[in-house]
């Protein structure tokens, strides 16, 4: 545990002193700012039954696509490329601590960026003075969903980074994994519809992994325990694979 905190501290320090952190944060806020403004403009033009804040959070997949691979691709691949994984793993730390600290640092960063978008809602509220715009239920649900799904996406990125020594490969693989996770759920619905004999089990399974649907549910204030189980077990499983990758692959370089 002491080692874990030491490792986490070092990861956070590395994040704080790296210029890429700030560039990525800037990009994220600029893009999300424009998206938010666009949603507001749309909201004024056409009457909609969902608040702009809700629509905003339903765009969670956008940063998940382009930012998660960027955040995570460096974490383990870079250690491997530099060879510092060797000095790291020959101190009394185990690979679980190493992977967890990398994961938590990236996750905290992701969450800090999302938390900073709360300021958008605040700015909107102070200028619009319209309580219906700041509907706390969906906003809370929405950010809870971001926190949950974020853990799965970051874990995917960490796994991608753990299996290679090239940041580029890690980035592309991370992107592909996040893409597949998001899109497969969505399109498996189509596939099961074309089945001649719909299987109940498959239908339920497909229903279970609808990440977009979870997003809709949470932002509508429907907070179910099943997505919690899905995202948390998914994260744990992926991180376990990452630990295995660190242990086996480090002994082959």
């Amino acid at each position: 545990m002491g080692n874990f905190l030491t490792l986490l501290r070092n990861e956070l320090r590395a994040l704080l002193i790296s210029p890429s952190t700030y560039i990525a944060a800037f990009l994220f806020l600029v893009i999300m700012g424009f998206v938010f403004q666009d949603l507001l403009a749309e909201f004024i033009r056409t009457e909609s039954d969902t608040a702009p804040a809700t629509d905003f959070i339903r765009l969670f997949w956008l940063p998940a696509f382009f930012l998660v691979p960027l955040f995570t691709m460096k974490s383990i691949a870079e250690e491997r490329r530099l060879g510092t994984i060797e000095t790291l793993m020959t101190t009394p730390v185990n690979s679980v601590e190493v992977v967890l600290s990398k994961f938590l640092a990236a996750y905290l960063y992701y969450m800090v960026l999302w938390a900073s978008t709360l300021s958008f809602q605040y700015v909107l509220y102070t200028f619009a003075k319209e309580p219906s715009l700041l509907d706390t239920g969906p906003i809370l649900g929405g950010y809870l969903f971001i926190a949950l799904s974020g853990s799965l996406f970051i874990a995917l990125g960490i796994l991608a980074s753990a299996v290679t020594r090239s940041q580029l490969v890690a980035g592309i693989l991370g992107f592909a994994l996040v893409f597949l996770t998001l899109v497969l759920g969505r399109y498996s619905v189509e596939i099961t519809r074309h089945e001649t004999e719909p299987s109940v089990l498959l239908d339920r399974l497909v229903d279970y992994v609808q990440i977009f649907q979870h997003g809709e549910d949470f932002t509508s204030g429907i907070i179910d325990s099943r997505p919690f189980v899905l995202y948390l077990t998914g994260t744990i499983l992926l991180l376990f694979f990452a630990v295995v990758a660190v242990e086996t692959r480090s002994s082959k370089t």
């Binding site: 002491g2 080692n3 030491t6 490792l7 501290r9 070092n10 320090r13 590395a14 002193i17 790296s18 530099l82 060879g83 510092t84 060797e86 000095t87 790291l88 793993m89 020959t90 101190t91 009394p92 730390v93 185990n94 480090s250 002994s251 082959k252």
Partner: protein, 345 residues
């Protein structure tokens, strides 16, 4: 040496990658306080052996014990006892020296006052005090190497393992690293690999020569000389006829031959190299015979110490012959070397 407590015990260690064997049935031990040099051509299995000692890689078979603790079963305990500097000395680029050492000290379980004291001590020892605030990525190679060594000795481990600590350094820096190693001598055991042989000879108490994944020779540099060099070269500075010299040597003993000689310089003296087979000392006999001979004027006689380089070449050559017995003779050495180099990583 200092004590008979064994810091490293390696028994029948082997490491295979698929069909290639990097380390093959290696056994050795290192006592407390001893400095052991690991020698061998590239790809001989030095780095692999070191990585297995540190617990970074798993052996295919065999037992490694550090301070009596098996590495495979209790790696956390053995890692606490080892300071390791890998090949090429990987360091994070964006930390400052002091920050890096502070972090490493925490990882190695140093806390509070002891942590601060140890960091100050290694900064002092490795002459890094002025560089403490500098960013590692901008340090010169000599500084980086010292940061790596500082990290290895940081927690005062029982055993320090350094893979090629002097590679790519200039002579000044090599001397500096050697002094550094000298200053740690006795307090901690050390295993150093290198292919700079004078380096090893100067710093190490004992040498292990590895080739093709096997230990082909082990002992002090002196013992190895005895074992592998079965001839001595005497350099004689003399004035006279070379043909007479040849005859005189032959009549003295059949073991003596004139290996080579240089053309005489202005005062008529030339340097002749006399080769003596066997380990017997011919110095006195040569002085007597050549000094009293009317045809010669002897100015100096020097028994040339075979360098570790020669020992190394002799030991590795011998091992190649035993490793490839079926091809003995007809295959030239140049053709064999690449096949040996492929084993390894």
């Amino acid at each position: 040496m200092e004590s008979n407590e064994l810091i490293i015990e390696v028994e029948n260690l082997a490491k295979r990658y698929g069909r290639t064997t990097a380390v093959n049935d290696v056994s050795f031990s290192v006592r407390r306080g001893e400095i052991v040099g690991l020698l061998g051509p590239n790809g001989a299995g030095k780095s692999t052996t070191m990585k297995i000692l540190t617990g970074f890689q798993q052996a295919s078979s065999g037992i490694v014990r550090i301070c009596g603790i098996p590495v495979a079963a209790r790696p956390m305990e053995t890692k606490r006892r080892i300071g390791y500097m890998p090949e090429n000395n990987p360091l994070p680029e964006d930390l400052r020296v002091r920050e890096y050492l502070g972090w490493r000290a925490r990882l190695k379980g140093l806390r509070g006052r002891r942590r601060r004291e140890r960091i100050e001590a290694v900064l002092e020892l490795c002459d890094l005090k002025r560089a403490r605030r500098r960013i590692i990525g901008r340090l010169s190679k000599g500084y980086r190497q010292r940061v790596g060594i500082a990290d290895a000795i940081l927690a005062e481990p029982d055993l320090i393992i350094m893979d090629e600590p002097t590679i790519g350094l200039d002579p000044h820096q090599i001397v500096m690293i050697r002094r550094l190693i000298e200053s740690i001598r006795g307090r901690m055991s050390m295993v150093i690999s290198s292919h700079i042989l004078p380096e090893i000879e100067m710093t190490c108490d004992r040498v292990l020569i590895i080739n093709g994944g096997r230990i082909v020779a082990a002992g002090t540099p002196e013992e190895l000389r005895h074992k592998f060099i079965d001839r001595t070269i005497y350099e004689v500075e003399i004035q006279g006829e070379t043909d007479t010299l040849k005859g005189e040597l032959a009549s003295l003993n059949t073991a003596l031959t004139l290996e080579s000689h240089e053309p005489p310089n202005r005062d008529g003296y030339f340097v002749a190299r006399v080769r003596a087979e066997g380990t017997e000392d011919w110095g006195e006999a040569l002085i007597q015979t050549l000094g009293q001979h009317p045809g010669f004027r002897l100015r100096s006689l020097n028994r040339r110490q075979p360098t570790l380089e020669e020992v190394f070449l002799a030991a590795t050559r011998r091992s190649w012959d035993t490793l490839l017995p079926e091809r003995n003779g007809d295959v030239s050495r140049e053709q064999r070397k690449p096949t040996m180099a492929r084993e390894g990583r």
